[in-house]
Subunit: 243 residues, 2 copies
DNA sequence: CGAGCCGTTGAGGGGATTCAAGCTCAGTGG
DNA sequence: CCACTGAGCTTGAATCCCCTCAACGGCTCG
């Protein structure tokens, strides 16, 4: 609610979007990766490339932003607040993901989208996507794919995370987060109270669990927010827990 | 896995689908409600109207069915099984809902879809929907709407249900299920072990909670599978719980 | 009428919460 | 330079809620 994406970072003063799109490392595999060069030309002028710091909001629930975003760098979490006032973290998105698709239907955003790390985005007006969708069938197909991917991710979180003991849930979460790890195997580690909001436990419990896993050598804390995990050991521990 | 939708119930031997579509009470507000008469004509011959009994599978996870379904009568639940072998119920669908949309992307179904009550469906081949989508922009828009609705429903379940005490979770579930109630205010009540799989608790705990709510007069058990709830009292109890 | 499923209820134990204290560390200002 | 502060993390002790194990009753069906 407090901080919102406003600042528009442009890498190059003369041809800002040309650089942002043409050189984009995530274009392949991203929403507009399916477009040809002429279509890409049309969109460049309308796409902004905001940058957010940790904790800033991409958008919040109920807001009618009129734009979708692709994530170029960083990790974004989706959260909602229950009527009782408790925060729940529903799923994560990272590089290459499309978020805020509700805007294509002229609906207000359904979740709060918050930067977990410094984040670089592409902001694409919803009207532009709709317009392109009318002529480009590949874009339509890709859009439906994105929707299904989001649904799948949400259901995976809903299936795997809320069930079982605190230890099991933490292990599962670490495995899901490890999918967003960088090339050196470092992964983003949430704060203890964030873990609590993801797994419906108190911050004390999540702290105890993380500390325990650290003592067992399954996870190595680098920075406060970064860790390296031993995947095979983690999976073994999870299986032992499920048995 | 065991029982699958195969039987093709036709209400009328001469013009089966003509009746199924033209007379369909849920057409307004359903996927093909946006189509005009000529488009409706084209689809009639390809749409089947299977009926399922309680507990039968519409489809199961991993299966490549090549069709989407709209629900005409009844309630369907989506479930997945964790790697540890525990069943999790993720969300519900009822009259007017579109399910199995993954098929439009040539993907296998992502969940098991199981009849909670006797169910009547329309089975629509994915190729037919894709074909119509290429020419009918209203259908495309409606499809995206359905996708977003499914995502929203999944996130609502994920937000509201797994958090808090057993009592709070049961209250929340009853409120969500009450949205599928019929005109007389009767709602479908899951078995105790189904409630357990929805809320991650044992069947004993869910039984205790339901019994307690019955004693408090917040819920009235009619049939074994049917109940009438007192919405205002339920909401008050929930607020008291959240406070 | 016995078998089996489903729901209910009780007793006991264990794991998570609650309440509380102390720790590290970064930022601030005397 | 260093005390001061506050945020985030860790750990301990006591309580409580839910799970586990168990027994029993109603109901349907073979």
């Amino acid at each position: 609610m407090l901080m919102r994406a406003q600042a528009l970072y442009l890498e190059n003063a003369t041809h800002p979007q040309a650089r942002a799109c043409a050189c984009c490392e995530v274009r392949r595999g991203s929403l507009f990766g399916v477009l040809d060069a002429s279509a890409l030309d049309r969109i460049r002028a309308h796409v902004a490339a905001p940058q957010l710091k940790t904790g800033e909001y991409v958008y919040s629930r109920g807001e009618s932003g009129g734009a979708v975003y692709t994530i170029r760098v960083g990790i974004v979490r989706f959260e909602r607040t229950t009527e009782g006032g408790r925060r729940r973290i529903l799923r994560m998105a990272s590089r290459g993901d499309l978020i805020g698709q509700e805007a294509l239907l002229d609906r207000p955003y359904g979740d709060d989208a918050v930067a977990c790390t410094p984040v670089e985005l592409c902001r694409i007006p919803a009207s532009l996507v709709r317009e392109l969708g009318d002529t480009q069938s590949t874009l339509r197909y890709e859009l439906m794919n994105r929707w299904q991917r989001a649904l799948d991710e949400a259901e995976t979180w809903a299936t795997e995370l809320p069930a079982g003991s605190a230890r099991r849930r933490v292990l599962k979460l670490l495995l899901l987060l490890a999918r967003h790890a960088d090339a050196e195997g470092r992964m983003w580690l949430p704060q203890r109270n964030e873990i609590g909001d993801m797994l419906d436990m108190t911050l004390e419990t999540s702290s105890r669990q993380i500390s325990q896993l650290r003592r067992e050598g399954l996870i190595e804390l680098l920075d406060t927010r970064q860790a390296r995990v031993h995947l095979p050991a983690l999976q073994a521990a999870l299986q032992a827990e499920d048995a």
